[in-house]
Amino acid sequence: MSKTSNLQHLFLCVGISFLLSFSQKTNASSDNPTIRIVFINTVKGNKIVLNDSVYVNPFNETYTISKLRYYVTNVSLQAEHNVFKEKNSYHLIDESKEETQVITFSLPPGIYSCVNFLLGVDSLHNVSGAQTNDLDPAKDMFWTWNSGYVMAKMEGNSPASKLVNNKFEFHIGGFSGPYNVLKEIHLYFPGKKISFEEGENYTIIINADINTWWQHPHDIKISEHANITSPGINAKNMSDNYAGMFHIEKIIR
């Protein structure tokens, strides 16, 4: 850095802070309400503990979970007359990394009724070459032999599985054609619309019930399908099931 550039920064800072001091009232962005969306993955109301806790699915098959990840993208909040859309909205929720389970942004104050997102990565970002951040192929959620994202992944063990070491693996993907697994999720606020007010923080707690993966509308037994790892009818069926896993538990101010 040269002397000129240091000087220039100094002048810029002084000038801008001067201007800011007179525009505080009109500059509302710093006062916008802050929203935190927290995803809590559960089975029968209990927060998941990877590897150690044993769960029972609707077919009385016991199982443990070693990996659980899914993409939440294109997050938006529905207000009365407009929609707030989060920018660059690509989030990989990973059960093994707590920091990934919270999405934070601020939005214009107003009365909101609903949170929407896409469960999976939109088709455009499946065909646009190498991506980065949560869409980095190094996140182990990208198929290298058949380009496309794994939209949701669960791995674990179950005595019902006939595979090696009683493993089961679900890598659910496919972004086009009849076996498209992308799911638009709309979650209405429980009870009523909420006014998000200036300067306030709100936490939307979303519960994801992992036991929905096995049933409604399609019965998927571990004993019959312990390995669904490519796009197709089985992946589509599982996505139809897990599309129903979310509900808003509460909104805390």
Binding site: S2, T4, S5, L7, Q8, F11, L12, V14, G15, I16, F18, L19, F22, N126, V127, S128, G129, A130, Q131, T132, D136, P137, A138, F142, T144, W145, N146, S147, G148, G177, Y179, S230, P231, G232
Partner: protein
């Protein structure tokens, strides 16, 4: 009120002053200077269907980084297998004289390595078209356990330790950050720049050479019998077709069907370009045919009928012995030795 206006005026003039300083400073700020490149589309060729460099501006610095990565064995698990170990320049970036290529831990690949050139015209990569963008193609051999057998994070750790890569990533992308996106984009800049357009055929088309009698006769036969799938001037239409080979009984490779799940895609593979075909032997997706004569014999009298067989091959494509010789002469006129020896594409 007056006070306010004066203060705002002061602020504005301070910012204006800063802006003047900034103007005098531009020269120094732009020490990060890239050299833009233009992909040269040969005259009379169709435009590529998509711009593969749309979100990856082609630069000399990006190309040179991609070139270094392409020849670097550290992209594989044991350091032995660079991209170039299966994509050899003297074989037009196929594996010379191998049906299958060698990979990690004495393993074979499961398909014949395709040559690499004129990739900008392809919408899909790999013989089954499973890869939908040139930037993503390298991930497939890099992570395949029988090829380079690596994982992305491990490659990046190796690259980050190398000062020359830190410099080259900075030169190509503005900062020394080394991540998968930049690595893949740089590789795409190199492989996407491999254009082969200087064969004898091209010289004849440009009026710089003439075919001999056998080549000229072969070209006439080619236009009448082969040009539908191996369409000029790229010598492929980039479609997926079943060319009447029985399924490989060891590999059970049904090609495109693996990607689409559609039974009507059974045994379909990407139509290969015939450019540089004299150095890309053996032929077909599993390298089962060792000479051009064997390939022509296959089309002449070896077609296996099946529901997904390409309609143009139902009756085979008969050739007399003389016709075979002439068409092979023509196919040799598609060889681009300047491309195979171009120093710009060779190991840095």
């Amino acid at each position: 009120m007056k006070k306010k206006i004066i203060s705002i005026l002061i602020a504005v003039s301070i910012i204006f002053f800063a802006w003047i300083l900034e103007a005098g400073n531009i020269k120094e700020r732009s020490s990060f200077h890239k050299t833009p490149l233009q992909l040269k589309i040969p005259q009379e060729w169709p435009k590529p269907p998509t711009n593969i460099f749309e979100n990856n501006p082609l630069t000399e610095e990006g190309f040179q980084l991609g070139r270094k990565l392409f020849y670097d064995g550290r992209l594989s698990k044991d350091g032995n297998f660079s991209c170039a170990s299966c994509h050899q320049q003297f074989a037009a970036f196929a594996t010379y004289d191998h049906d299958f290529s060698h990979g990690f831990n004495n393993q074979f690949s499961t398909r014949n390595a395709p040559p690499l050139f004129n990739l900008a015209w392809s919408k899909f990569y790999n013989l089954d078209g499973g890869v939908n963008h040139i930037e993503l193609q390298a991930l497939s051999p890099l992570t395949a356990p029988n090829e380079m057998a690596e994982n992305i994070d491990s490659v990046l750790i190796k690259l980050r330790k190398d000062v020359s890569y830190q410099k080259m990533f900075k030169a190509a992308f503005g900062t020394s950050l080394i991540n998968s996106q930049r690595m893949l984009k740089a590789l795409a800049q190199f492989t996407g720049s491999l254009i082969s357009s200087d064969s004898k055929y091209d010289k004849v088309k440009r009026g710089e050479a003439t075919f001999n009698d056998a080549e000229a006769h072969g070209y006439e036969l080619f236009k009448a019998r082969c040009n539908t799938c191996h369409k000029e001037p790229l010598f492929t239409d980039y479609s997926f077709r079943n060319n009447g080979l029985p399924v490989n009984k060891f590999l059970k490779d049904y090609g495109r069907m693996k990607i689409t799940g559609d039974p009507t895609d059974s045994l379909k593979f990407k139509v290969p370009s015939l450019r540089n075909v004299s150095v890309t032997f053996p032929y077909t997706h599993d390298g089962r045919l060792y000479s051009l004569y064997k390939v022509i014999d296959h089309y002449s009298k070896g077609i296996i009928q099946s529901p997904t067989l390409d309609s143009s091959l139902r009756k085979g494509i008969p050739f007399t012995e003389e016709e075979k010789t002439d068409i092979v002469y023509f196919l040799h006129a598609l060889n681009d030795t300047a491309f195979e020896k171009n120093k710009r594409f060779s190991q840095p």
